[in-house]
Amino acid sequence: MQNYGVYVPRLVTKKDIFVSGHRACIGCGEALAVRLVCKALGQNTIIASATGCMEIVSSPLPTTSWKVPWIHTLFENTAAVASGIESGLKMLMKKGRIAQQDITVVAMAGDGGTSDIGLQALSGALERGHNFVYLCFDNEAYMNTGIQRSSSTPYGAATTTSPAGKVSIGQVSWKKNMPAIAAAHNIPYVATACPSYPFDMMDKVKKAAATPGPAYVHILSVCPTGWRCPTDLAIKLGRLAVETGIFPLYEVENGKYKLNFDFPELKPVTAYMKLQGRFRHLSEDIIEKIQKRVTADYAELKERAVEG
């Protein structure tokens, strides 16, 4: 486990690429994740960013928070745009129009832009084997348009399009396992990360950028606005998501699973859920159902990690 002392954060670069002045909500876990990810990526980066929270808050005309070339794309074609950039750069370097250099091409999207609308373009780009990094910032619903459910919304969560009430428990389907879908493309690097574990996340992003070929990193970003939780809990909820086994942090390198944080015993899911308003309507039996599923999924993942 990475448990560096308090002096280590002082050694991380102070140069920001995603700079202040953006309009993210108070306590946004996603803005924090983007800022740290950009520190890890460095200056030699081109970013294609899908419509979503980070696009809305960072680029209201005529201002911008980005200090690198940044392209706003639609929901559905982020991965296609990134693969176009990568191919274009390759060709320009081959023809000698620009000098040979290492430029990291990054596609960023939310969970809606990745697991719902952008899945087709992402699948194509992963299959073609472009040398790029795809970062999914998962806040578990379409937050910037008003908290509509996505396929990444967890079971039982109340959103504006899956409201909880007398006849409904909220979201009735289970969260789509997006990292597993990415890993099923047999790409060299897939990982899950969370800004509550900043060094682990930055290491994974660096590793993804250094990997030749496509790499996919799924980053859980706590959204106090949509998750109906106090704004000071973004870091705590991220840690609880990992400690309860709801969002385990792991890497898949060339098909080999590796669990980065393993706990002797997992905390109960209620520790994570009772802090969020979106789960407050859930009855005991539903929570038990969720607990069973989380335990089973975690055990399966652990088994895969042991097999290697």
């Binding site: 448990n3 002096y7 050694l11 030699n44 290492d102």
Partner: protein, 238 residues
């Protein structure tokens, strides 16, 4: 403000900035190993060398140490720079042929193999860990010892140090990953190229997890003057 030229690009810079800082600000790649903005530049690895023209004469300087001046002309990719950098890289590769970071950087700089006799070391003696321990952490638990070919990095007399707090800053900052750092159960192990130490970790009062070396807590309490019970719980349980 001073004006200088790097690779034909006219750039403006603050007085007192180094060539490397200006190049980084303007997205010009200069390879380095021993540079970190948290500590003073040191010029150990020499990979950041560039060619400058001053009073009509050209010379090679380490860009992490050389401060910019008005009308300076800098070349980061001239033939002389490239051939010198390759030679340095070959020497590093001969010292650490099995180090992944060195291999990657060598490949990036176009060096596939070395013509020198190969050693099998991991540390490149850039002293980044030593400087971080001194300047950022403030304990000076490790240093470079001996001279010439016997030069090594480690704790005094290769024995466990009294002042090391086991924070892991040296392991994090090492550009070539030569320092091992891991927590197993209630003990933390740090292994430097020439010495090693283990630290007893503190148990969290609430969750029972081991989270920080006891020595580090003592040091932090001594530095900040906080009451002794402040760190009984780990950050998750606070």
């Amino acid at each position: 403000m001073v004006t200088l030229t790097i690779d034909g690009r006219k750039l403006k810079a603050e007085e007192g900035q180094t060539i490397l800082q200006v190049a980084e600000d303007n997205n010009i790649y200069i390879p380095t190993l021993c540079h970190n903005e948290a500590v003073k530049p040191y010029g150990a690895c020499r990979l950041c060398l560039v060619e400058i023209t001053r009073r009509g004469r050209e010379k090679l300087v380490a860009s992490c140490l050389y401060e910019v001046e008005d009308g300076l002309e800098v070349k980061t990719g001239s033939d002389r720079v490239v051939s010198n950098r390759r030679m340095l890289m070959e020497l590093l590769l001969a010292r650490c042929p099995n180090n992944k970071e060195i291999q990657d950087l060598a490949r990036r700089l176009g060096v596939e193999e070395t013509s020198f006799q190969q050693d099998d070391k991991q540390c490149i003696l850039c002293a980044l860990c030593v400087r971080v321990c001194q300047e950022v952490v403030g304990v000076s638990a490790i240093s470079l010892v001996n001279r010439g070919v016997d030069r090594q990095m480690g704790t005094p007399y290769y024995e466990p140090s009294d002042v090391c707090i086991g924070c892991g800053s040296c392991a994090y900052v090492c550009p070539v990953g030569a320092i091992d750092f891991k927590d197993v159960g209630d003990t933390r192990y740090i292994k430097w190229p020439s010495s090693q130490m283990d630290f007893k970790l503190k148990k969290c009062k609430t969750c029972g997890g081991y989270w920080i070396p006891e020595r580090q807590l003592e040091y932090m309490i001594e530095q900040t003057g906080l009451p002794p019970g402040t760190f009984d719980n780990c950050p998750d349980c606070r």
